[in-house]
Amino acid sequence: MDLYLLSPVISLLALALVVILLDLFIRRKWILGWVSIIGLIVPVIFTLSLWGRNETSFGGALAVDHFSLFFHLFFLGVAALVLLSSTEYARKFAAFRAEYYALILLAATGMMLLASTRELISIFVALELTGISLYVLTGFLKDPKSSEAGLKYLLLGAVASAVFLYGMALVFGLTGTTYLEGIAAAISAEGLLDSPALLMGIVLLVAGFGFKIAAVPFQMWVPDVYEGAPTPITAYLSVASKAAGFAVILRVFYEALGPASLDWGMIFAVLAAITMTVGNIVAIAQKNIKRMLGYSSIAQAGYLMIGLAAVTTEASSALIFFLACYALTNLGAFIAIIAISNKIDSDEISDYSGMVRRAPLYALALALCLISLTGIPPTAGFMAKIYIFSAGVNAELLWLVIIAVINSVISAYYYLRVVRVMFLGEPVSKEGVHASSGLRIALSLSCLGVLLLGIYPWMLMKFAETAAGIFLP
């Protein structure tokens, strides 16, 4: 039991505690945000120091491998950007800023654990750690919309938890173990492949995790929660929570259910097709930009699920790469929205009219991110799509890829509509938009990332390949 392997998690947890404790002693609360941001360096350093190690601990429950370390960095990065984008927004929370930052860090802790645990109980608890932090964060504004969103998220999240617990129970009951390795071994050893309970277990697991990644028809909470949550949290939800979902699915399905006769890839393929189509089509009809991005994130989950449907290492590495690109892009979009909505105090797309003349850089950044979400070069989104579609084609999922590309076309319609409103519309007022330094840093980071990945994606792809490499049979 090597606790050092857990050092990134522990240091992050400690950071959360430090922030809360610091709250008691300092008066200038803005420091808290920067403490939590700068403090993230510690877990990052720990993570980097672990790079290359491929070990397990806690009797196999914790894995420190490329996959988990990649996701450590991923969640830490996302948390950093979310924190940066919250520095100004958090003023709304008055006395609760420390709690806000701490919960973001706790959620990140949960997600990091999700990517690295290999045992059902730990997975479940980590999932709930993430979940509960996010429920609270969603309701953090405590205005009617925010509380309502929080409650919906919590109740539905709890139902989803019950569902996948049921699934886990079935799997456990059949195999007699909660370790992923053990499950895989038991399934192949005891000839459980055709067992109805296993199939049902998988279905329930798909449903439970589907809730996390917002796959249709488990996605219905998404738009409401995204709309109601504080915008940085929406960004966090749309990126980190989804990524955590995918990470845990990859873990569970590849490591535990890899040998299952049930072609769970097929289930994901069908869900992917439905998800992207529903997400895109409904997004067209949206007028609230956060809600629209909610549907858009559903659609993106659909594309991501191609990486699950095609059960190959290449597909998982494409999925991981897509996640990273999507994270940068979506965060960029949300950060720009935060910057703009801080000023105009509205999330209606129509209020973004003529934004390019009021806030040219923010409008341009938002446009860039929307273009990336559409998948038009030279942006990260394009490279991500190329990569994941190529994995899909290679796995002979041509039909799914065709549906996906048609969906990309549909998506252009609503993404570009926002661009159009910003670039073509008459400005509602002449007032410019000025954002805090945190937001500006976060926005430039993500936009640079989007462009960089669009032009030179190879570094990250290699990372993703390495991360996915652990699933090699």
Binding site: L156, V203, A207, P217, P223
Partner: protein
């Protein structure tokens, strides 16, 4: 050197449009002088070429060619050939062109587009000369379209007149209809033989390599180009309308040169076309029919230039008939080889040659009358004999020549054609002979209406300074042309072209055919005199008594209505094309928009599922689970 014949007027065009027009616009005469100098140069060179050709071996001078295109095996060369046929043509073209340009100085004086006019005229002359000299079909086509362009530009010279603009467009589009066939034939021939070279094509045709339906189709295609250019039935409708252009243009382009390009083309390709009996029969029939068909319309037209235009069409029909008749003789074996081929060309080109002089004379004469009266409507003329004696005399000479009265130029060339027609196409011969009568009649109808009787234009119809004779610069070309209209028939054109034609000044009167045609011509003149000179018969009552026939003629057999109003507008544009547009809007584009609408509507419907009720969302989760279970049950 030979290239210079083309290049001189082309250079003149370039000088006028890029130097004189932009920089010396205040001195428009310069452009006229430039043009005339260039054409004089061309004329001198043409005559030199004519002399050289007669001395050259095989009567052919060739020039080096340049490679226009080379892709793999496809190599297209472009060059020129000067043979006797071309030599005759270049001399004719440059002569008439020169005279018309001189005339134009007077006629166009004071027109705002003076320089532009001469620029176009230069370009036209260059293209026409190029057309004549081209040694291959593709190069020929280049100039073929070039003269068409100039014709278009010059018909529409007074572009502010809607009729002129309309006529210009009509001319271009209708001839292009013929050119379509021509172009297809060129391509077809190239694909079959691998060459555009006219000489090589002839050799292939004569050697029988090129034959059968290929030859027939190609020949008919080429002829369709000629039909368009020469205003033959059924593409004749543009030529009368083309009279909207300035009169010298009508004289040069729509009487003497461009419209004869069709005849020249058939003559140029004669060995090939005549090798197909079907094709050459078509040529003969179209020619013969057009001759009489156009003449009938000339009988009733009231616009002096239109009468002349119909007459031109009719005479061009004669030329085609001449070619066709000899060709039939050749194809059916009555005539043999080389003799037949040169004879056909000689007969047609001879008539082309004489016709060029007297018809341009007539046009220029009509221009002179309009110079005085300001109109071309014969109903507003009359009695000009007294004020315009020079014009009158030259016009009558031209008319007599056209009517084929011995010993004027028209007689000789027309006799040649009638003779061949009688020999090989008896039916068409009778059409042609009736046409002789009509020709004489309508020409003298013009003479009597215009120059005899009382002036009917009224005060306001005349020019401000009253009726008067035209200035010298107009009269001199008329006189020169009149001289040619008399003597052109005596020149040994046929011999020069290699045909063995026995020319005897009085001997011609010994054939019965000459007497028949002469007497018909005189009868026509007499009838015109009775009706329009003496007014013994009322033209009006004759018109009324003929009723529907008269209407048919005056409305030009309703061809304009048929083509423009019915076929183009109603059938094509408002019919088929409108249907296309409907399809485009509602089906092609409609389905595109429809898909978009359905998608957007789908979004609007599906968002309604998102009711905001968390329990609906929960329900969806379980429906999803059950659906996956069902899916698995069904698919495994």
């Amino acid at each position: 050197m030979i290239f210079a014949i083309i290049l001189l007027p082309l250079f003149s065009f370039l000088v006028i449009s890029f130097v004189l027009r932009p920089f010396f616009n205040n001195r428009p005469q310069l452009s006229a002088y430039t043009t005339i100098c260039a054409i004089v140069g061309s004329l001198i060179l043409s005559i030199w070429a004519l002399i050289s050709v007669s001395g050259a071996e095989n009567h052919v001078l060739t020039s080096t060619s340049y490679q226009w295109l080379a892709i793999g095996d496809t190599v297209i060369n472009i060059g020129i050939t000067m043979d006797s046929l071309a030599a005759i043509m270049v001399v004719t073209v440059s002569t008439i062109s020169l005279l018309v340009q001189i005339y134009s100085i007077g006629y166009m004086k004071g027109d705002g587009g003076f320089a532009r006019y001469f620029a176009f005229m230069s370009l036209f002359t260059a293209s026409m000369l190029g057309l004549v000299l081209a040694d291959n079909l593709l190069f020929l086509f280049l100039f073929w379209e070039g003269v068409g362009l100039c014709s278009y530009l010059l018909i529409g010279f007074w572009f502010h007149k809607p009729e002129a603009a309309r006529a210009a467009m009509k001319a271009f589009v209708v001839t292009r209809l013929g050119d379509f066939g021509f172009l297809v034939a060129i391509i077809f021939l190239y694909v079959k033989t691998g060459t555009f070279d006219i000489g090589e094509l002839h050799e292939l045709a004569l050697a029988g390599v090129l034959g059968g339906s290929t030859l027939t189709l190609a020949a008919i295609g080429i002829f369709s180009g000629a039909v368009g250019k020469s205003g033959q039935f059924p593409l004749h409708t543009w030529l009368p309308d083309a009279m909207e252009g300035p009169t010298p243009v009508s004289a040069l382009i729509h009487a003497a040169t461009m419209v004869t390009a069709g005849v020249y083309l058939v003559a140029r390709m004669f060995p090939m076309i005549a090798s197909s009996e079907t094709a050459i029969t078509v040529v003969a029939i179209i020619g013969g029919f057009t001759a009489i068909f156009a003449a009938t319309m000339g009988l009733v037209a009231t616009d002096i230039k239109r009468v002349l235009a119909y007459s031109t069409i009719s005479q061009l029909g004669y030329m085609m008939l001449g070619l066709g008749a000899v060709g039939i003789g050749y194809a059916s074996g009555h005539l043999d080889g080389h003799h037949a081929l040169t004879l056909g060309v000689a007969v047609a080109i001879f008539h082309l040659f004489t016709h060029a002089f007297f018809k341009s004379l007539l046009f220029l004469g009509s221009g002179s009358t309009s110079h005085a009266t300001g109109t071309f409507d014969m109903r507003k003329m009359g009695g000009l004999r007294k004020v315009q004696p020079w014009t009158y005399v030259t016009f009558v000479i031209g008319s007599l020549s056209l009517a084929g009265i011995w010993p004027l130029a028209g007689f000789w060339s027309k006799e040649g054609i009638l003779h061949e027609a009688h020999a090989y196409t008896p039916v068409l011969f009778w059409l042609a002979i009736i046409t002789v009568f009509m020709t004489a009649f309508y020409m003298f109808r013009v003479v009597f209406l215009t120059f005899h009787g009382e002036y009917r234009g009224g005060k306001e119809g005349s020019h401000s300074h009253g009726l008067h004779e035209s200035p010298k610069i107009i009269i001199i070309p008329l006189v020169i042309l009149a001289i040619f209209a008399v003597i052109a028939g005596w020149l040994p054109v046929g011999d020069f072209l290699g045909a063995d034609v026995n020319f005897s000044f009085f001997g011609a009167l010994t054939s019965w055919l000459a007497w028949v045609s002469l007497s018909l011509g005189i009868a026509g003149i007499l009838l015109a005199y009775i009706i329009y000179g003496r007014k013994l018969l009322s033209a009006k009552s004759i018109g009324q008594s003929l009723g529907p026939v008269y209407t048919l003629l005056i409305r030009k057999y309703f061809f304009d209505e048929l083509y423009e109003r019915f076929f183009v507008m109603r059938f094509l544009v408002d019919g088929i094309f409108a249907a296309f547009q409907w399809v485009d809007t509602y089906i092609v584009d409609g389905s595109v928009n429809g898909i978009a609408t359905i998608t957007v509507a789908g979004g609007k419907v599906m968002r309604k599922l998102e009711t905001g009720q968390l329990q609906v969302y929960g329900l969806a989760i379980f429906i999803g689970i059950l659906a996956i279970v069902a899916f698995l049950l069904i698919f495994s």
